[in-house]
């Protein structure tokens, strides 16, 4: 208990850090993931190839390596001196985008063929079909897997702490460097993460119920 009370400001910063990196990289992952999923189902071969390469590469790269790339290679290409928070969110967001893409793509595959055929027969274009008929229906099937993807993202954000982003793992490291017993520190950090992941699963359950529809 003392570990928490004596170091509460640092813990609070760490918790806020975990929440903010989770939120920022979730947004990046969601936007990129849906975009790449669109690429992967599009009628244009080069875009499909790009989407497949993207997913295959990112899914088979350890996240730690991706963080290394973002902290040592990307600043050389983009702007030197980007903030660790931004670099960490980008690494995490890109990594997760490949999982989001696969979830969205399999969601698209669950929409009955007749829906797309009907949309086409009234003259809708590819992007209209995708936007107005397929994606709204796919969203419902995609919500449960997305929920676990974002929970995984929250847990993966711990790695950002090792790359000098302020978040809960950083607090754990700080406390063990200061010589506190690791067991209570572990318990508090674990509780911090549990709060975030429970919030995410609750939010998604709410979404699922709101979007439920008789089929």
């Amino acid at each position: 208990m003392n570990v928490l009370l004596d170091n509460f400001p640092e813990f609070r910063d760490g918790f806020i850090g975990t929440v903010s990196i989770t939120v920022v990289s979730s947004v990046i992952a969601l936007v990129l993931g849906v975009l790449i999923a669109g690429f992967r189902v599009s009628p244009v071969p080069p875009l499909r190839v790009f989407g497949t390469t993207w997913v295959t590469l990112l899914r088979n790269t350890p996240l730690t390596l991706l963080f290394l790339i973002f902290f040592f290679v990307v600043p050389e290409i983009l702007f030197p001196g980007m903030s660790p928070f931004l670099l960490g969110s980008l690494a995490l967001g890109l990594y997760t985008s490949s999982f989001v893409c696969e979830a969205v793509r399999s969601g698209i595959n669950t929409v009955p063929l007749g829906q797309a055929e009907a949309a086409r027969s009234i003259g809708m274009t590819f992007s209209q079909t995708l936007r107005m008929v397929i994606l709204p229906q796919a969203t419902r099937t995609v919500i449960p897997p997305l929920s676990s993807i974002f929970i995984a993202l929250t847990k993966n954000s711990a790695i950002a702490g090792a790359f000098s982003v302020t978040e809960l793992f950083g607090w754990q490291k700080l406390m063990s460097d200061r010589g506190f017993d690791i067991v209570p520190v572990f318990v508090w950090v674990a509780l911090g993460y549990l709060v975030v992941t429970f919030a995410i699963s609750g939010l998604f359950r709410l979404l699922e119920r709101r979007m439920e529809v008789a089929r």
């Binding site: 088979n60 790269t61 996240l63």
Partner: protein, 291 residues
Amino acid sequence: MSASVLYDAPGPKAVVRNRVYAVVGSLAIVALLVVGVMRLADKGHLAPEMWDIFNYSGIRQNIADGVLATLKVFGLAVVGSLLLGVVLAIGRLSDHRPVRWLATAFIELFRSIPLLITIYAIWVGFLTDYSMWALAAGLSVYNGCVQAEVLRAGINSVPKGQSEAAYALGMSKTQVMVGVLIPQAVRAMLPTIISQLVVTLKDTSLGYIILYPELLNTARLIASNTLVNGQYPYVSTIVVVGVVYVAMCLLLSALATWIEKRGRRAKTGIVMADATPPAEMADVIDAPGDR
């Protein structure tokens, strides 16, 4: 195929339009790549000297050692996580309520805590001088929990008649579990189990953070101890090590897909699971029911 759901076979107009999109899209992608490569070349990261370092036997030896260390910890984690997975899965299906609760609590707890946190706590708290064992233990605990859920889903997917028949023959519960249910569950879930092993392999790179000299840590050491043209060769080492990682993971994924295809051919009446990893975890329980 998913593609044909969304669009008809293109007519002449659509063919032209798709070609335009294809050209514009490829140009945009190529332009992005070229800009990236040019920026790297500007900073001298692509100079031949930067890549020459991989011709030195010392550096090659370092990388080989790193791969070996990674594979060593991966092997330990595979054995550990599968053993723990079987034990936990049996625990979750036990007839005794306390055993069931204990197994469930253990699985839920360690599955919802970031793996890095667990590994770090084990390392600092118990195995400070044995980073390999700390890493292996952390990986085993986390992946064991995931494998347990996979196995449980597999055991539940075995047709009920199988265990009924086994009981009717007078087999004990242990015999039914070990002799009838688990072999079929493993067979059905093999693709998912191997896909989870890919996740385990990727996660060995967390050894980087507890200073275990696996491949990624080796790469960092190489890059930060070699000075070429007044720069550290981060870009070239990361590229080389990245290729090694992706190759290892792709090999394992290919194995999973191959087994899945083989399993679909066999007519056993047991549905094979998909080879796609269950989004890293969590939804393994729902996965088989979704189809």
